[in-house]
């Protein structure tokens, strides 16, 4: 009996101790909180914290002095709030690159050869690089006779490597300490190598191992580069070889060549010896003394002969770049598109975090750049121009959408985590509309116009019962069956006529008038080869031809994307559409006519607050509709 009492007492003590342990975490439900209150707090946490509430937050919510209004205000503006709103517009615009983007002219490939000692070594080169030596002009800098290898564009190399003599190798190549290996690559004698004396590189900057190690597994100290690619000049010269005609078939090839050497273009003949800025596309195709610049900073390394890898970065990071789900080797050509997307996300995040005027999503002059974007806007983007534009006197971009002079000068390509605000990209900047990510994602003028119409005016192009009869009418605003949509679409598309499709080269009005009297049809009804790439023969007459995509409205073409931004944001549908987009996302359902009263009220709040999202979201979170968003019986 005595033992039983002791046991009972012990059990009571143990139970009490256990309950004490539990008490700290398991509180009885607050008498003043209903199940609906708890659910409201949970959905508000999901929307404002980006996660479900913790036990501690629920305990705080149960306190009698908990003020939900103050709690909502306190979390409007946090990172999860900004991420929540960014998600609304990223879902609409999907500003991430697909797999087909390429930055083109800046790609630096590499070929493995045997040096004079028989050691395997890589030689970096650019495809199509012009060289003064006829045997290697527009080819790899070592001939098949010299290396035993036939290096072909976009195809595997063939042949059996043989030792390249030291004399030949020194004559055709040189050693460089490149930007991807050395933090201090601009110095005459760089020393701060990745992972060694540059001991704490940015954790998000991770070159692939194949760029860090030599063939024998030793750390790469220097890379061997074809001499022309290693040139560091800022300005080069137009090169003319003197070859004016392709030799007839059957003509013996010059020693070492596998195909005829390139002939001079008319432009090269006419402008031989003239200076050319080395960042431009013209320099890449018409000079022999414009290389990849100091530390090869104008070029992107590939670890292969075709498309190779360059850096590790995530494929998936739905919680932001700080919480990636993975980190994988990526092709060099994806490096800059990846950062274009991050630029757009940064821009949106700051728009919402700082509660700026939402119209700036389309009209803002500012943006955010990091090291790779700084490298891109300073040098790489200039390599996009100029080809057909040169015939109109534009050898390099005259009015780029992002002026290179406005890029922070001290950011280095390796500064991937350091983001800087650029207050003004240039006179043509217009929010996301002039960012590479938007312009590449929506490559044509019509695609750009259509996404604006849908995302920011909440309208879509749906033809009625249109019958598409045969027609040769080029003007889609007139063609039966097309006109119902294209009457709206073509004028919108015209705003983007000055930004080349699939690119972001800007065609200034001074050189490319919307209707160009110099571009007339010839007797066969064709435009000259000069005009044809940029002007539309379908809209040419005796007075000249119209810039491609501009026929919907010549004045819109001259207004540029910045004009589209003003037009869209001043439209009466803009504020109502933004309200509807955000309300629909927070309510978790499409809005209906039953929501008209709420939407009208929210739109008034949004407009009177100066198009700020914070008052709009606060209004949604406090509405009865939000509280009862999941109210099905």
């Amino acid at each position: 009996m005595l033992i039983g009492s002791r046991t009972l007492a012990l059990l009571v003590i143990l139970s009490a101790a256990a309950l004490v342990a539990i008490d700290a975490r398991s509180a009885p439900p607050s008498a003043s909180r209903s199940l609906d209150d708890y659910k409201h707090f949970r959905i508000a946490s999901i929307d404002l914290l980006g996660r479900m509430p913790t036990r501690e937050e629920i305990a705080s919510f149960e306190e009698p002095n908990f003020d939900l209004d103050r709690w909502i205000d306190g979390h409007l503006g946090g990172p999860a709030y900004a991420e929540r709103l960014t998600r609304v517009y990223m879902d609409l615009l999907r500003l991430e690159p697909n797999l087909n983007f390429s930055t083109g002219p800046a790609q630096l490939f590499r070929q493995e050869i045997l040096d004079s000692s028989g050691k395997a070594t890589f030689v970096y080169f650019r495809a199509g690089q012009r060289r003064a030596r006829e045997a290697t002009d527009a080819e790899f800098c070592l001939t098949p006779d010299e290396s035993g290898l036939t290096v072909r564009a976009n195809a595997p190399t063939v042949g059996t490597p043989k030792r390249v003599s030291a004399r030949v190798l020194e004559a055709a190549t040189t050693l460089v300490r490149p930007w991807w290996l050395y933090r201090d690559y601009p110095d005459p004698h760089p020393q701060a190598r990745y992972g060694e004396s540059w001991a704490q590189p940015d954790p998000e900057y991770r070159p692939v191992e194949t760029l860090l190690l030599d063939r024998d597994g030793k750390p790469t100290e220097e890379v061997r580069v074809c001499l022309e690619e290693a040139a560091r000049n800022g300005e080069g010269h137009i090169f003319a070889s003197g070859r004016s005609k392709t030799p007839p078939p059957g003509t013996p090839l010059p020693p070492g060549r596998i195909k005829p050497a390139p002939v001079d273009t008319a432009y090269a003949r006419d402008h031989k010896g003239e200076t050319v800025p080395c960042e431009t596309k013209l320099a890449a195709i018409a000079s022999v003394d414009c290389g990849c610049g100091v530390g090869l900073e104008r070029c992107m390394p590939n670890d292969g002969i075709v498309q190779g890898n360059a850096f590790y970065f995530p494929n998936h990071m739905p919680l932001g770049s700080g919480l990636p789900l993975d980190s994988v080797k990526q092709q060099a050509q994806r490096w800059f598109p990846y950062w274009w997307s991050r630029e757009a996300v940064h821009f949106l995040d700051h728009l919402f975090t700082d509660d700026r005027d939402f119209r700036e999503i389309l009209t803002g002059k500012e943006t955010w750049v990091n090291g790779p974007l700084s490298q891109f806007y300073k040098t790489i983007q200039r390599g996009n121009c100029c080809g057909p534009e040169a015939g109109f006197g534009m050898l390099e971009e005259r009015e780029p959408l992002f002026l290179p002079s406005n890029v922070p000068a001290d950011l280095r390509p390796q500064d991937v985590s350091e983001w800087r605000l650029v207050q003004d990209r240039g006179p043509h900047a217009a929010g996301i509309l002039t960012m590479p990510m938007f312009l590449e994602k929506y490559a044509s003028a019509r695609a750009r116009g259509a996404v604006l119409y849908n995302a920011f005016l909440c309208k879509s192009f749906t033809a009625g019962n249109a019958a598409l009869g045969p027609s040769d009418e080029p003007n889609l605003m007139k063609r039966p069956g097309c006109q119902s949509c294209h009457t709206s679409l073509e004028p919108l598309a015209a705003y983007f006529a000055r930004v080349e499709p699939g690119s972001f080269v800007f065609l200034p009005e001074s050189l490319f008038p919307a209707k160009n009297s110099k571009c007339k049809k010839d007797k066969n009804g064709h435009l000259s080869g000069l005009c044809n790439p940029l002007y539309d023969v379908a809209f040419a007459d005796d007075g000249g031809a119209v810039l491609r995509s501009a026929y919907g409205s010549l004045s819109h073409a001259d207004a540029t994307p910045a004009g589209a931004a003003v037009d869209i944001t001043s439209s009466p549908e803009f504020a109502a559409c933004a309200t509807q987009r955000v309300a629909s996302s927070f309510l978790g359902r499409a809005t209906t006519t039953d929501d008209t009263k709420l939407l009208d009220s929210l739109t008034r709040t949004f407009v009177t607050s100066g198009y700020r999202m914070r008052p709009l979201v606060a209004g949604i979170l406090r509405s009865a509709e939000y509280r009862k968003a999941n109210n099905a019986p």
Binding site: L14, S15, A17, A18, L19, A21, I22, D23, A24, R25, S26, A27, P28, P29, S34, L35, Y38, K39, F41, R42, I43, S45, I46, G50, R51, M52, P53, T54, R55, I58, E83, R87, M90, D91, R94, L95, E96, P97, N98, L99, N315, H316, P318, L319, L323, P324, L325, D326, S327, S341, L587, G588, R589, T592, D594, A624, K628, N630, A632, P633
Partner: protein, 238 residues
């Protein structure tokens, strides 16, 4: 007369009566309205609020919550911890789950999933089991025992001996709040008894489990409760 003949005659008579009724019934007419006004019995306001069912928790929210429950780890660290020494037996990789969870893929213009599907539910299940099992190891099997405030999910001590309702309820409430965001006392009345039944059945059947589990009976019981809550529709919907 036999019973069957009586039955046959009766049926024949019924058919005849029916036919006569059809022929002779007066023609029906439908009045345009009630003959007299219908007196109201009461009044109720018309609820015009749009009705919407529960929506899916955005995958970003699911993932962020999952990581927090896992101890606030980064995704790659959580993946490493979840895989542990067992490799893919308990957890594959985020890359395997990312599309199943309903994330959009902006690169390929794949929109986010707004509704659950069988593949997604299976993924929730696999992720949930990994979370609960690792939490049992972390919270309940740590030696020396972890202080309650350092435990991730099971923020309570296991009671000695057989667990009855009095011991079960407050501990279940901790888990209920953790996963579903409100006290178990506000849940439908059958929820706590059903979870208690689940706990008891798993605990009692556990010794017979084959192959042998590394968990004790009580640990297996609490793990099962955890599985039930992490896979509960209220966890994935809001």
């Amino acid at each position: 007369m036999s019973r069957s003949r009586w039955a046959f005659s009766g049926a024949r008579a019924a058919v005849c009566l029916l036919l006569i009724g059809c022929v002779t019934a007066p023609r029906e007419s439908i009045l345009a309205g009630p003959e007299a006004p219908i007196a109201p019995l009461g009044s109720a306001p018309l609820d015009t609020t749009p009705k919407t069912d529960l929506r899916m928790v955005p995958p970003e929210v699911y993932l962020r919550t999952y990581l927090r429950l896992f101890g606030g780890l980064a995704p790659t660290d959580a993946q490493k911890a979840a895989r542990g020494a067992q490799g893919g037996a308990l957890f594959d990789s985020w890359d395997d789950y990312v599309s199943a969870l309903g994330f959009p893929d902006y690169r390929l213009d794949i929109p986010r999933q707004a509704q659950t599907n069988a593949f997604m539910i299976a993924t929730f299940e696999r992720l949930g089991v990994a979370l609960c099992d690792r939490a049992v190891e972390h919270d309940l099997r740590a030696r020396p025992p972890l202080p309650v405030e350092q435990r991730l999910l099971f923020a309570f001590d296991l009671p000695p001996g057989i667990v009855d309702r009095a011991a079960f309820d407050p501990r279940f409430d901790v888990l209920h709040r953790t996963f579903l965001g409100y006290p178990a006392a506000l849940a439908p009345s059958e929820r706590v008894p059903r979870f208690f039944q689940l706990f008891r059945e798993i605990s009692s059947l556990h010794p017979q489990a084959s192959p042998k589990s590394k968990f004790t009976s009580a640990e297996a019981g609490w793990a099962a409760v955890c599985y039930g809550l992490v896979r509960h529709p209220e966890f994935q919907l809001y």
